[in-house]
């Protein structure tokens, strides 16, 4: 998973704070995708004629993020704020295909074969690939790179180490361009993991010689990948400049951008103004109100693809909401549909499960949004929650405030008082991810999540499992424990090949979480509402690659 740092897009996990992406919305180049989202494509085409004028170098792509982290080390870049530039500089063995949440395509791997139970994966590597310094990419350097990522202990190794904990034994080089990965158990969709944008980027292992920290410090100001672009310069808090990698295996013969400049523009209104004035080609989403305004702005396309992320309100399995009946009641008071449309202006989609629609094993209909005050009152009475009880709702600056106000209003209908507490992002993260006495925990707290790759177990483990509570330093801030949910999560990791069983287990788990024992109020499914100029072509949003862009695929019309 990856949380958005700071605010909706980055916020730090930092900056945090702060993301959203799209998928089916191809802008121009892919005919099939255009057909799949005809109305959007049609409107962007119409608006293009009257767009803001381009008064700068058309060969340079300018991207405005709310914040970026100058970390170009695949072993540690685990923040959206670092992923965006790094996705353009590092390749992985696989990539997600088009706007699909489940289909992958070979990338640096060219041939993929597995044994019968899919526990051993053999990769034939693309020949002729070089790192940006000209060093050849090979099976040996791949093994060294993944070993470095797993062993560095800098955060991002957790993706690969789901199934590779001993790379020396589990990754076997069988030739210059052939490598075998023995996972020990059957993992039918290991390709999805390898296509993740978190922790699978392949770094030139020669960086290990740059200092005593495996080159980690070196990679704070240099890139060392096989990707289409390479780092030219970085000015923290200001800009990252990327230029084409002269050794790129795919070449640069098309209408690609000659320079990518990523600017840090923390002010929401400035990102909107920059899009309206033509200063930026792409910008991270601003407020829902800005997004709504830009949808009708000429020459600007606003992404509209659901991604694998959820916004939700954690409900504490302690205090007044300890009883599942009380948590059911709170869910019955929240008007999800109106929240998504009227408050969030369509930047969220109504939830149909605690899992996003596009996630594997997602079972639509296991959560239904409906407001029933009388039933909520009755449930609260059964749960022993008396009118006049005070609940606390916590959120962090920039995110989650409106949901709290709505909850405050709705819960007053049943006589409950809600005290809204706003905190700075680091303090908020501390509250929901470190152990606190019950009296110091919020009863409700805003949060969001998306997975590292399309896997409900990967999505749920840190936020819903009994091993993901703050006691273990993870983000199950409501201390939610349910054996049905734990069983589905664990089986998803240990027996991922048994799809019939997993379908059943995940349906049960979603039913439990959506109806009987709610851990959250699912506020909505995250929609990638990135802003793009309509003359930037080739954008295909993928639900897995939240707010990330394949820079080489982009060009200017």
């Amino acid at each position: 998973m990856m949380a958005r740092d700071g605010r909706y897009s980055r916020r730090q996990f930092i900056r945090g704070a702060a993301g959203v992406a799209s998928g089916a919305v191809a802008m121009g180049s892919a005919g099939g995708l255009l057909a799949a989202c005809g109305s959007t494509a049609a409107s962007t085409t119409k608006k293009a004629a009257a767009g803001p004028p381009l008064k700068r170098d058309p060969g340079t792509l300018i991207v405005a993020m709310d914040a970026f982290t100058p970390d170009f080390d695949p072993a540690s870049y685990f923040l959206l704020s670092a992923i965006v530039p790094d996705f353009g500089m590092y390749d992985s063995l696989m990539r997600m295909k088009g706007n699909s949440a489940t289909a992958t395509k070979p990338w640096l791997a060219q041939e993929i074969t597995t044994n019968a139970d899919k526990s051993v994966w053999t990769f034939g590597l693309r020949p002729g690939v070089k790192y940006s310094d000209g060093t050849p990419f090979s099976a040996t350097t791949l093994k060294e790179a993944y070993t470095r990522t797993i062993k560095a202990g800098l955060g991002a190794g957790s993706t690969l180490s789901n199934y590779i904990t001993d790379p020396a034994k589990q990754i076997v080089v069988k030739g210059p361009n052939k490598v075998i990965m023995d996972l020990g158990i059957s993992v039918p969709r290991f390709d999805l993991l390898l296509a993740s944008q978190y922790g699978t980027g392949i770094v030139n292992p020669s960086v290990n010689k740059q200092g005593k920290d495996l080159g980690h410090s070196y990679l704070q100001s240099h890139s060392a990948g096989t990707g289409a672009y390479m780092l030219e310069s970085v000015t923290p808090n200001s800009q990252i400049v990327m230029i084409p990698n002269p050794n790129y295996w795919g070449g640069f013969n098309g209408p690609h951008f000659k320079k990518i400049i990523i600017l840090q523009v923390p002010e929401d209104s400035s990102r909107r103004e920059g899009m309206e004035s033509g200063d930026f080609d792409i910008a991270f989403a601003s407020t829902p109100q800005d997004t709504e305004a830009l949808r009708s702005a000429p020459g600007i396309f606003v992404g509209n693809q659901k991604v694998l992320g959820m916004d939700y309100v954690i409900l504490g399995q302690y205090g007044p909401l300890a009883s599942p009946l009380a948590r059911q009641a709170v869910n019955l008071l929240f008007p999800n549909d109106q929240y998504a449309s009227a408050v969030m202006k369509g930047t969220l989609d109504s939830p149909h499960s605690v899992l996003p629609d596009l996630m594997i094993y997602s079972a639509a209909g296991t959560y239904t949004s409906s407001v029933d005050v009388a039933k909520a009152k009755s449930l609260l009475q059964q749960a022993g929650v008396k009118p006049g009880t005070q609940l606390t709702y916590e959120f962090y600056t920039g995110q989650g405030g409106p949901a709290g106000l709505l909850l405050q209003s709705q819960l007053s209908l049943v006589g409950l008082n809600v005290k809204i507490v706003e905190k700075a992002y680091p303090a908020f993260v501390d509250d929901i991810s470190t152990p606190k006495p019950v009296a110091e925990r919020p009863d409700m707290a805003y949060w969001f999540w998306w997975p590292e790759y399309n896997s409900p177990s990967d999505f749920c483990f840190p936020i819903l499992s009994n091993e993901g509570t703050p006691t273990q330093g993870l983000f199950n801030g409501g201390y939610f424990v349910n054996s049905t949910v734990d069983n589905a999560i664990n089986k998803g990791f240990s027996d991922p090949s048994n799809s019939a069983l997993l379908t059943q287990l995940w349906h049960e788990a979603q039913t439990v979480m959506g109806k009987e024992d709610p851990p959250w109020i699912p506020l909505g499914q995250i929609i990638d509402t990135s802003y793009l100029r309509t003359d930037v072509k080739g954008y295909v949003a993928n639900p897995v690659y939240v707010q990330s862009y394949d820079f080489r695929a982009l060009s200017r019309a």
């Binding site: 930092i14 991002a156 957790s158 600017l263 004035s277 983000f475």
Partner: protein
């Protein structure tokens, strides 16, 4: 003079030590784990602990403070979790941007204020005076963040006259680093293109920041000029037949300047606070923006480093003010 400077510099050491003490422990009391923020939310507890060990965040606070002071004595301000490099490098990169912004804002705000206040005082009770005072109230009362957004909307988005933010347009190669002040460095390099671009980027943030300086200084200077105009030495000068300009320059302004200069030193503190907002809105890569981001990210060393530098600047600016007194009023003697 030498004694004054030596005493103030010695005093500064104690001030800065106090700043390290308060800022170091206060920043650690505020909840938030930089190791978790660096590692990312799904990193394992083991990885978070590993990062804590790497940066010594798991040591007792006193040990951490001792290490910080030891490093500080070697001019090492520690590692920034946010920018992933040494805080000293960051400050060397960001401070000139703030100095350039704040310097021009002070010059513009103070210069305009002196002209307005003098005109208002000379024409006391007229529409000129009313207009001057009104402009001062407007400058003082408009919040910087609101003025910044308004100026961006009007002069960038609507009129397209000035850039939205930053120090140079994206893709423009900065001049070779000499002072770090782009307007100066570009002139030194003979690069008029960069100079024009840098000036264009300065206009809106400098105006925003100067508004507050202007408002306060007009009020102070107007009163001072009115007081000076009523002094006998001014009447004597006029009776001697000196020109109005000469009376103004040599007798009125020089004496009226003392309170203004005093406030200017104090104003620096307000300016330091103002740059936090202005730099953030205009994406100005300066010390204020750096400190703002650092505080949000629980970046202890960056917060402490920025605070130290701002405190040191405050002391130095006030030392300069004291020295200016000696020039403006030769009767002043420091014991």
């Amino acid at each position: 003079m030498g004694t004054l400077i030596a005493r103030r510099l010695a005093f500064m050491v104690f001030v800065l030590w106090g700043v390290t003490l308060v800022t170091f422990f206060l920043s650690r009391v505020v909840p938030g784990d930089p190791a978790r923020l660096m590692a990312g939310p799904q990193a394992s507890a083991g990885d978070v602990a590993h990062i804590s060990r790497i940066y010594g965040l798991d040591d007792p606070l006193l040990v951490q403070y001792g290490r910080y002071m030891r490093d500080l004595s070697h001019a090492n301000l520690g590692f920034s979790f946010m920018t992933r490099r040494n805080v000293r490098t960051d400050i060397a990169a960001f401070l000139p941007a703030t100095v350039e912004l704040a310097g021009y804002a002070l010059l513009l705000g103070f210069g305009l204020a002196v002209v307005t206040a003098t005109a208002a005082a000379y024409r006391r009770g007229t529409w000129t005076d009313v207009g001057g005072r009104l402009s001062a109230i407007v400058g003082l009362s408009i919040p910087a963040f609101w003025l910044a957004l308004l100026l961006q909307l009007l002069f960038h988005t609507v009129l397209g006259w000035f850039p939205l933010g930053g120090r140079l347009s994206p893709g423009v190669v900065p001049p070779p680093h000499v002072t770090g002040l782009l307007t100066v460095d570009s002139l030194l390099a003979g690069n008029l293109g960069d100079f024009t671009d840098a000036v264009a980027h300065l206009v809106l943030p400098v105006t925003t920041l100067a508004a507050g300086v202007y408002g306060l200084m007009v009020r102070i200077m107007r009163t001072s000029v009115i007081d000076a105009l009523g002094e006998e030495y001014v009447r004597t000068a006029e009776a001697k037949g000196l020109s109005r300009w000469r009376v103004l320059r040599r007798h009125v302004l020089r004496n009226a300047m003392l309170p203004g200069v005093t406030v200017l030193g104090l104003e620096f503190g307000l300016l330091a606070a103002g740059v936090f907002v202005v730099e953030s809105i205009y994406q100005w890569p300066g010390l204020g923006n750096y400190a703002f981001q650092a505080i949000q990210a629980s970046d202890y060393n960056a917060t402490l480093g920025a605070t130290l530098v701002i405190a040191a600047m405050y002391v130095v600016v006030n030392l300069i003010v004291d020295i200016a007194y000696l020039y403006l009023d030769p009767r002043i003697r420091y014991a």
